[in-house]
Symmetry: C2
Subunit: 344 residues, 2 copies
DNA sequence: CTACCGTCATCAATCGTTTGACGCCACCCG
DNA sequence: CGGGTGGCGTCAAACGATTGATGACGGTAG
């Protein structure tokens, strides 16, 4: 590894001079010729500054830490990572990553280990819009929660979550617009925050359309997977006045409804319109017909989190009050929504 | 931030002494009482060593860099990340992550930026078992390619890839064992390496079973997605002597075959057995019936890569010849394989 | 002739740790 | 009493960079 000393030796000047020049702080301090020689030599020799030394001196590592419980193993939330990493990269920052793999015991050591490395900010990523207990972090290190909210209301952490309610409203509104008046909702209570907000959006959309809220049209699945959709699907579809459309908690559930509908000889979307939530690539688009669904904006949330952290670091928002950002969830239209049967 | 100086001040000894003690190198050099006092004070005050300074001095950052083209955005390969990160963590290393998002221009700057931070090893991750051109890296930094092979045969990089051929053999062997004798293969030529090896495994399994290779039973899809399976499915299924089973390049293709079979009134697995490849969570398990498929061992490969890198760093395998590791791809049995119809 | 100024470059301290080489003191031995 | 020996600690020089203070030098003004 080449150091300033090497360059200085080659050119025949002092280390300080080289440093000044290579940091473009030579204006009025170093002769233009000398500066040029230094620059040329540095690039010829392929000098690369040692960030470690620089960081130590300047107290900035240009590194932000990201700890996640599980982000790296849940498929689509890789987008969060990518979004955060790219946003950081764009401003010259790198991401130090730790996945605690769902083991909460690991959170503290993970954060410690990141702090030891002098990260300038911490992004704390979770999955499915959860409430998180944040490990303690010195005030000098801003924290942003990604896809979750700090459970402590006094927390000074920013956070970004999907605007689930608005997304749900949009999804249900699409069904209303298609002419549906009996719209079921399949929820998954094991995701309490998301379930509540999506249901809220569902109800708001119905109210906005002047439609009655029929609690019997809401059915719960035990879990968010395809198989768990069987029971609620049966409850909603095996009744004479079955809904003409369902809004599903997630794409997996929606996939379950596809299967349940097919098993009953119902065609999607002719006999049953379906709207999902998540826009899981490889599911929503792979289904036939393609699933109209509400997108969970993982990439955008990741980018927001990193960007927000950087704004705090750079001082532009250094001591702004904590902000909770609701990221819009766009509706992705495919082919699973049609007018209800009786209108044809 | 607390430094050695602070502890030294509190206890009334020199910085050196504190350093010695906190690194457990005090044996015979520091009085046991003094040592105890130092340790106590350090923990009371919550001293945490500054890794930056330590790294600068010792020349080891305990950090490995991972650059990937797209790993973070392709769903299941997040497992690679998680595997690598956890393996690194287990040995006290952290992962510095850069996703080049498919933009090859970014690779060099990404690697430069990691090297500037004195990573001790580089893991270069790709997707789908590709040939990769490795950016240049000083000999002192070991490189491991993850889910790909170095295109340069003289490369000194280790690599790990799935044992596609063996996986394919296992998948097809499962069909043979169920009694199938006409087994189709749906390939996707746009993944050249994987396609070749999976086909090779397919053919080996047939030969091993003494079955003829019928080239008309091999059909190609334009792409690896569900919709792209339509054409090859038609070619294989719309013929009088259609195969009783298909082995698919990927789970998405398999999903396409499910749909194609259903459209033709064929039941999976009664009329058509299907085996996939990838074991994409949320697809293989979500399908109905569950898809028997060959697992792509992303997590294990990630862990292998990190572990291998660490072995080179620690000197245990410092100058072993480059190793290419084939990671076994276990068969995951679900319900898409049954005996062929005519045997019943 | 001295004082002062601008130009160009270097000095030296610093960031927080690490670590081989010393130093000091008490004690013991011959 | 001189010299060796442990035991206990500190010194000081790194690691590679940054940066305010300082200085040498030639030229110009008073």
């Amino acid at each position: 590894m080449l150091t300033l000393r090497d360059i200085a030796g080659h050119v025949g000047v002092s280390i300080s001079t080289v440093s000044l020049v290579l940091n473009d702080r030579d204006e009025g301090r170093v002769n233009a010729d000398t500066a040029a020689r230094i620059r040329r030599t540095a690039s010829e020799l392929g000098y690369v500054p040692n960030q470690l030394a620089r960081s130590l001196k300047k107290g900035q590592t240009h590194t932000i830490g990201l700890v996640s419980d599980r982000v790296a193993t849940v498929p689509f939330s890789g987008h969060m990572l990518a979004g955060a990493q790219q946003a950081a990269w764009d401003e010259g920052y790198l991401l130090l990553l730790i996945d605690t793999a769902g083991n909460d015991e690991l959170q503290r050591p993970a954060v410690r280990s990141l702090l030891q490395r002098n990260i300038e900010a911490l992004v704390f990523a979770t999955t499915y819009h959860r409430l998180v207990d944040l490990p303690e972090v010195p005030r000098s290190v801003p924290v942003v929660v990604l896809d979750g909210r700090p459970s402590d209301p006094a927390s000074r952490a920013d956070f970004v979550v999907p605007d689930e309610a608005a997304g749900a409203r949009a999804g249900v509104a699409r069904l209303v617009a298609a002419g549906h008046r009996r719209i079921g909702f399949c929820t998954v209570p094991s995701y309490p925050v998301a379930a509540r907000l999506r249901r809220q959006g569902y109800e708001e959309a119905l109210r906005a359309a002047g439609l009655p809220l029929d609690p019997t049209l809401v059915a719960a699945a035990e879990d968010a997977n395809t198989r768990a959709a069987d029971a609620p699907a049966a409850r909603l579809l095996d009744r004479p006045d079955r809904p003409t459309a369902v809004f599903c908690f997630g794409d997996q559930i929606a996939m379950g409804f596809y299967q349940a509908a097919r098993a009953r000889g119902l065609d999607v979307p002719r006999d049953l319109s379906v709207v999902g939530f998540d826009n899981q690539e490889y599911v929503a688009d792979a289904l036939s017909p393609g699933l109209t669904t509400v997108q969970l904006p993982h990439g955008a949330m990741g980018a927001w989190a990193a960007h927000r952290a950087l704004r705090r670091i750079t001082g532009e928002a250094a001591d702004a009050p904590p902000e909770g950002h609701l990221m819009p969830c766009p509706l992705v239209e495919r082919d699973s929504v049609a007018p209800p049967p009786d209108t044809r």
